[in-house]
């Protein structure tokens, strides 16, 4: 049978099962089973068990539950309050004033949490009421938060990068390092926008407080500084080649436990709660990864990724057109799938295409994560929009409108990364060159 028809049949099965509300991991395995059992002579049953087993104990994957756990521990400390009081004195004098707390706070939180809705919720829990009390423009307060929340996916250590690294068999260390510059770039774009906006809307930003002496600023952020050092230690040990991501994650876990202990937030209850929550999140993500692994095996048996890549290259699209096309496809997917599922589901199919078009797999990983970030801001299933809708009590439309400029800035960020791939690849190549 023609391979494109086979692909169509499998794609249809996937859509019907997913749309029917079946769990994503179960759906992926079922479609993989269908692919092997119906369209190939291989024994699907024994392949299913061995594939699931083989992928379940990979060393690279051990970093995932540990980073999730580290985030859960810090999340249960007083991070949210510390973030606002610790950052406010430093950004108060910038044009746009405390709106920058949202952006920088999300940037810091992103390094801790690695998930964008958690980032959004943790920072917003404290900053939204504070900003409202001081009379800041509400649209901007919500917009900056929605936009910067997406940094959670990009700034290392990021769970999504581990998921991509596993699916695409790329070095997680290099992906982490590759995310640093684009993450800072997006932050700079957001902050620049806030500054320009406040220059045009002078009345909308309340005047800054009296400047504080340096020692007072340091005193107010005394609880934030150890967290920054912990993050720098985790990322630095990976960049310097002293630790694998898994080892760095372990150091992060014990560092976070230490911080929680020192600040008095550590109890047997918070310890077990963080462990159980990390276990559940990790289980959920791993289940999708295992399902996708089996589906990839099935598709590879039939030669689908290679055939699709050949078909796409036969279309004669320029690399730029291919990217625009892929971005649009991801936007549509993002309307009903969340990030991790999007990444595992598409990587095995999309990667041969883009590598064939001459893109670097590490670069594509960062691109993919940026696009998934954009999908967090598109209704009807934009997770950041949900979170902010729940927290601010404003309707979805208001929240969506508020985050629209930041969605636009993310598009600019993706375009910049596409035009200047060095933004992504410079640091990881430097790491490799040493």
């Amino acid at each position: 049978m023609d391979i494109l028809i086979t692909t169509g049949v499998l794609g249809l099965a996937l859509i019907v099962l997913l749309g029917g509300g079946l769990w994503i991991s179960v759906t992926l395995m079922a479609v993989g089973y269908l692919a092997i059992d119906v369209f190939s002579p291989a024994p699907a049953g024994s392949l299913l068990a061995t594939t699931v087993w083989d992928h379940s104990w990979g060393w690279a994957l051990t970093a995932l539950p540990l980073f999730v756990w580290m985030g859960e521990i810090l999340f249960r400390s007083r991070l949210s309050e510390d973030m606002f009081s610790g950052l406010a004195p430093w950004v108060d004098r910038l044009p746009g004033s405390l709106l920058h707390v949202n952006i920088v706070g999300c940037g810091v939180m992103a390094a801790v949490a690695g998930s964008s809705s958690v980032t959004c919720a943790t920072v917003g829990r404290m900053s939204l009421p504070e900003l409202q009390r001081r009379g800041y423009n509400e649209t901007m307060a919500i917009g900056t938060l929605a936009g910067s929340g997406t940094l959670g996916l990009l700034i290392p250590p990021s769970i999504m990068m581990i998921v991509y690294g596993i699916s695409a068999q790329q070095s997680i260390s290099r992906l982490f390092i590759a995310g640093i510059v684009p993450g800072l770039l997006i932050m700079a774009l957001f902050m620049g926008y806030v500054m320009i906006w406040s220059a045009f809307n002078r009345g909308a930003v309340p005047p800054a407080d009296e400047p504080l002496p340096l020692m007072e600023k340091l005193r107010r952020s005394r609880r934030l500084i150890p967290i920054l050092m912990l993050i720098a230690g985790v990322i630095g040990s990976i960049y310097g080649g002293y630790a694998t991501p898994t080892e760095a994650a372990t150091l992060g876990v014990f560092g976070a436990l230490g911080l929680a202990w020192v600040t008095g937030a550590l109890s047997w209850q918070s310890f077990t709660q963080s462990l159980m929550a990390a276990m559940r999140t990790s289980c959920m993500i791993t289940a999708i990864i295992l399902g996708a692994a089996f589906l990839s095996v099935g598709m590879a048996f039939l030669g689908i990724p290679a055939a699709l890549a050949a078909w796409v290259s036969g279309l004669g699209l320029s690399p730029g057109m291919l990217l625009v096309l892929l971005t649009l496809i991801y936007m549509v997917l993002g309307c009903f799938l969340e990030g991790a599922s999007m990444i595992v589901l598409t990587t095995s199919v999309a990667l041969p295409m883009v590598v064939g078009a001459g893109f670097d797999p590490i670069w594509f990983g960062i691109y993919l994560i940026l696009v998934v970030e954009m999908a967090q801001l598109t209704p009807p299933v934009g997770f950041n929009l949900f979170v902010l809708h729940g927290m601010s009590g404003r309707d979805m439309w208001t929240v969506t409108k508020a985050s629209l400029p930041f969605f636009g800035l993310l598009v600019v960020g993706v375009a910049l990364c596409a035009m200047f791939p060095g933004i992504v690849t410079y640091l990881p190549n430097l790491m490799l060159a040493r």
Partner: protein
């Protein structure tokens, strides 16, 4: 019966969390070993504990409503249609998971029969960690069947637990 099942999910979830802790513990041992100049290789043990976390935690994660699915369409269903769609996914998942459990059992049996060892320094017989996978999948199959009977009996199933990861901590924090 109800209490026994809930205890089963809680205990297996607790074991999964313990395995997650053990991943960190073996890696600390590896780092300490390198520091003091003796070799502990936790590449394999870490991986096995990860597999243990994943499979033993499956049922608990399902019951807590953490496993993701696309509910965009089915959440619009009302009345008997919603009921039938719930029955259908539970039936499908229970059947699929039962099949995977059965296949895993024969894989474990093969590993045991041929005496397969893990390739690293530990050289653990593969059937030991694989048995944990088997146990976890068996419990998950039970959990899916449990959900099926809950839906059939017009009770609300565990996977429908209202759930928003991001907001968990907010409620607990206050």
């Amino acid at each position: 019966m109800r209490k026994g099942l809930d205890l089963l999910y809680r205990v297996s979830g607790g074991i999964a969390a313990f395995f997650l802790f053990m991943i960190a513990a073996t890696i600390v041992a590896q780092i300490a070993g390198r520091f003091f100049g003796f070799t502990i290789d936790s590449t394999e043990s870490g991986g096995f504990f990860l597999a243990g976390t994943t499979f033993m935690g499956m049922a608990h994660t399902l019951k807590a409503g953490n496993h993701v699915r696309v509910s965009l369409l089915v959440s619009k269903f009302k009345g008997p249609l919603a009921w039938l769609s719930d029955i259908w996914i539970c039936l499908f998942a229970a059947f699929g998971c039962g099949y995977l459990t059965w296949q895993t059992a024969s894989m474990v049996h093969d590993s045991w029969r041929f005496g397969d060892l893990s390739p690293g320094l530990l050289a653990v017989p593969f059937w030991i960690p694989q048995s944990v996978m088997l146990a976890g999948l068996a419990i998950l199959t039970i959990a899916f069947l449990d959900e099926l009977f809950l839906v059939l009996g017009r009770h609300s199933p565990g996977y429908a637990t209202p759930h928003e990861t991001a907001l968990d901590g907010i409620e607990e924090g206050e």
